[in-house]
C-alpha cells in the first residue's frame, strides 16, 4: 500500500453502557472491538455480518458521527476528529438502508438535494441539483414532489443525489439495497456501479446479502459480534473462505438454483449473544469445528496471504 489509504481505521473500539430505568443496573455492550480496516482510493470494501455484529456502529464511526473509545480514524490521510466539519462533509457522505426513513417526509425533493449546498455555501444551486438528479436517473419533474409520492427505488436515488451533490470522495453505503425489491435493487446496484466508475468513488458497502457484496466489492471484511473475523479479496474469500463463520455465511446464502438444496450448517442451538462475551473465540458457542483451546484463548488476527483471519485453526 504505497499510496495513502482513503479510509484507515486502526484498533477502533466502542462499548455502549446500557442503563435500564432511572437508577437501574447498567450493562456493557461491546459494539466494536479492535477494528482495523484500510480502503485504497477508488476501491470498494464490502463489510458483511449479521445483526449485532457492529456494522452500523462502524459506519457511524467512519462518518465521524460517533467518537470511538479507542483507536484512530483517518480519511484521506487526515485524522477524522481533527478535521473541520466543512472538510469532512466534502470528503465523506452516507447512503442508508430504509428509503422511507432516509428523507425528511415534509420537504420537497428539490430542497432535500439542495440542502447540502445551502449548508456549505454551494454556488448555482439549481444547476447543481438538476445535474445531480440527472446523474442518478431521476426525471426532472419529480423536483417538486414529496418523498411520499416516490417509490422506494426513486427515494434511494434521491438519497444518492443528496450524498453526491457535494462531490465527496468517499461514499459509505449502509445496506442501501436491503429494503428494496429484487428488480429495484438491480437498478440501484447498476447506478452505484456507474457512479463509482464515473466519479472514481471510494466506497464501503455494508450488507448482510453476500451475493450483492460479491458483485460490488473488491475486498470483503467479515464481522462477528464486533470483531473482524476475516478479510480477503472478494475472489479469495468466495472461492476459499478460511474462518468457519465465513464458511457458514457463504453456505447459508441461498442462490436461486433448486439444484443446491438446503445447506447443513451444524451451528448448534446457541444464538449470537453480545452480552454473554466470555474469554476465547466469540464464535466458539456456535462453531462446528470448535476445540477446547478456542474457548479458553482469545483469538488474535493473523495475516494470511492477501488478507487476515481470526482463528488459530484456519489454514
Amino acid at each position: 500500500m504505497t499510496a495513502v489509504p482513503m479510509i484507515r481505521l486502526a484498533g477502533v473500539s466502542k462499548t455502549y453502557r446500557l442503563r435500564r430505568g432511572l437508577f437501574g443496573p447498567s450493562q456493557e455492550l461491546r459494539a466494536v472491538h479492535d477494528l482495523s480496516l484500510e480502503v485504497a482510493r477508488g476501491e470498494t470494501l464490502g463489510l458483511v455480518g449479521e445483526s449485532g455484529c457492529g456494522k452500523s456502529t462502524a459506519v457511524s464511526i467512519m462518518l465521524g458521527l460517533l467518537a470511538p473509545d479507542a483507536g484512530r480514524v483517518e480519511i484521506a490521510g487526515q485524522a477524522l476528529d481533527a478535521m473541520a466539519e466543512r472538510d469532512r462533509v466534502r470528503l465523506i457522505q452516507p447512503v442508508f438502508q430504509n428509503p422511507n426513513a432516509a428523507l425528511n417526509p415534509v420537504k420537497r425533493i428539490r430542497s432535500l438535494i439542495a440542502q447540502p449546498l445551502k449548508l456549505h455555501g454551494g454556488s448555482e444551486i439549481d444547476r447543481e441539483v438538476a445535474r445531480a438528479m440527472e446523474m442518478v436517473g431521476l426525471p426532472a419533474r419529480l423536483a417538486q414532489a414529496y418523498p411520499g409520492e416516490l417509490s422506494g427505488g426513486q427515494r434511494q436515488r434521491v438519497a444518492l443525489a443528496r450524498a453526491l451533490v457535494l462531490k465527496p470522495a468517499v461514499l459509505i453505503c449502509d445496506e442501501p439495497t436491503s429494503a428494496l425489491d429484487v428488480s429495484v435493487q438491480a437498478q440501484i446496484i447498476n447506478l452505484l456501479l456507474g457512479l463509482r466508475r464515473e466519479l472514481g468513488l471510494t466506497m464501503v458497502f455494508v450488507s448482510h446479502n453476500l451475493a450483492v457484496v460479491e458483485h460490488l466489492a473488491d475486498r470483503v471484511a467479515v464481522m462477528y459480534l464486533g470483531e473482524k473475523v476475516e478479510e480477503a479479496t472478494t475472489d479469495a474469500l468466495f472461492r476459499a473462505p478460511r474462518h468457519p463463520y465465513t464458511q457458514a455465511l457463504l453456505a447459508a446464502t441461498l442462490p436461486p438454483d433448486p439444484g443446491r438444496g438446503l445447506p447443513e450448517l451444524r451451528l448448534g442451538k446457541a444464538a449470537a449473544d453480545p452480552f454473554a462475551l466470555r474469554g476465547g473465540c466469540l464464535f466458539a458457542p456456535r462453531c462446528p469445528v470448535v476445540e477446547p483451546i478456542c474457548r479458553s484463548q482469545p483469538q488474535d488476527l493473523r495475516r494470511v496471504a492477501e488478507g487476515a483471519v481470526r482463528c488459530q485453526r484456519a489454514g
Binding site: 435500564r20 430505568g21 432511572l22 437508577f23 437501574g24 443496573p25
Partner: protein, 306 residues
C-alpha cells in the same frame, strides 16, 4: 422484581420531596404570607405580629425543614381560621372526597372499559360511533354546569334526589354521575386505542390461527396486553378525580377536601391549603407507584425476570 421495586420507591420518594417543596413554596407566591393572612385591611403591625407568631421571619430553609419534620410526625401545622391542628380538619373532611372520587372512578371504569372494548371490536360500527359521541360530549360539557343542570332537573323539577349535602347516600348519586361522566371519555379512549393496537398484532392473529375462539383471544391475549396502558392512566385519572372534585363539591355543597381548600383560600387560611395540596399530591404519587407495581406484575418485561 426487588430491584425494580426499590428503584420505583426511590423515585416516588424523590417526587414526594419535590412536591412538598413546591407546595411549601406556594405560600410565598403572594410575596409575604403575613400580609395575605392579615388581610387587605390589616395594619403593618398586625402583619408584623403574624410574622413573628408563625415564624415567617426565620430563613426560608429553616421554615421548610421545620414544616417537613413536623409533617412527617403527622403535624401539618395550625389552621389560622379554626385555630385547631390542620390534620384534624382534614381528617373530618377527607372521607367525603375519597368516597366521591373512588365511587366515581369505579363507575367510570365500569362504563368506559366495556364500551372501549366493544368499540374496538367493531371499528366504525354503531357501538364505536356511540362511544365516540359519549367521549366528545363528555369532554365538552363542563362538569360544574352539568352539576347545576342536574340539580335543576333531577333535584328541583323531579325531586328524586336531595339538592345538596351528603347526609344520606342519595346525596352522592348526582355528584358521582357528574364526576364519572367527565372521567369516562379518557378511560374509554385509552381502552379503545389499546385494544385496536393489540388486535392488529401477530400474537393475536397467531392465537386465532391456532383455532382459539374469539372470546378467548380477546380476554386472554388482547385484554391482558391492552390493560397495561389503562392501568397507568387509571391511576392518573383517579388522582385527578380526587383533586378535581373541588368543583363538584362546591356545586353540590359537599364538604370534602376540595371545598375546604376553596373556603380556606377565601379565608387566606394558607396552612390548610398547603396541607391539602401536599396530601393530594402524596396520594397521587402513591397511586401512580401502585399502578407501576401492578403493571410490573402484569408485564414480565418490566419485572426484568427471565
Amino acid at each position: 422484581m426487588l430491584s425494580f421495586l426499590s428503584r420505583r420507591l426511590f423515585v416516588a420518594f424523590c417526587v414526594c420531596l419535590t412536591v412538598s417543596g413546591l407546595s411549601f413554596a406556594l405560600m410565598f407566591l403572594a410575596g409575604d404570607p403575613a400580609i395575605a393572612i392579615a388581610g387587605s385591611g390589616g395594619r403593618a403591625e398586625d402583619a408584623e405580629a403574624i410574622r413573628i407568631a408563625y415564624g415567617f421571619n426565620r430563613p426560608l430553609l429553616v421554615q421548610y425543614f421545620d414544616w417537613i419534620t413536623s409533617a412527617l410526625r403527622g403535624d401539618l401545622g395550625q389552621s389560622i381560621y379554626f385555630n385547631i391542628p390542620v390534620t384534624e380538619i382534614i381528617a373530618s373532611r377527607i372521607g367525603v372526597t375519597l368516597t366521591l372520587g373512588c365511587v366515581a372512578f369505579v363507575v367510570a371504569l365500569a362504563i368506559a372499559v366495556p364500551l372501549g372494548i366493544a368499540a374496538a371490536l367493531g371499528p366504525n360500527g354503531w357501538i364505536d360511533r356511540i362511544a365516540l359521541m359519549i367521549a366528545v360530549s363528555g369532554q365538552a360539557i363542563p362538569s360544574f354546569w352539568l352539576g347545576l343542570m342536574a340539580i335543576v332537573v333531577f333535584g328541583v323539577w323531579y325531586g328524586w334526589v336531595p339538592i345538596s349535602g351528603a347526609e344520606t347516600w342519595q346525596g352522592y348519586i348526582l355528584p358521582v354521575i357528574v364526576l364519572s361522566y367527565y372521567a369516562v371519555p379518557e378511560l374509554m379512549r385509552i381502552t379503545r386505542s389499546g385494544m385496536i393496537d393489540v388486535l392488529s398484532t401477530d400474537y393475536v392473529r397467531a392465537a386465532r390461527a391456532k383455532g382459539l375462539p374469539m372470546h378467548l383471544v380477546v380476554s386472554r391475549h388482547a385484554l391482558r396486553n391492552a390493560i397495561l396502558p389503562l392501568v397507568s392512566l387509571s391511576a392518573v385519572q383517579l388522582g385527578q378525580l380526587l383533586s378535581g372534585s373541588i368543583v363538584i363539591e362546591s356545586v353540590f355543597a359537599l364538604n370534602g377536601l376540595g371545598r375546604l381548600a376553596w373556603e380556606s383560600l377565601l379565608r387566606s387560611d394558607l396552612p390548610v391549603v398547603q396541607a391539602i395540596i401536599l396530601i393530594l399530591a402524596l396520594l397521587y404519587v402513591v397511586l401512580t407507584t401502585l399502578a407501576d407495581i401492578l403493571n410490573a406484575g402484569l408485564d414480565p418485561r418490566l419485572r426484568g425476570g427471565a
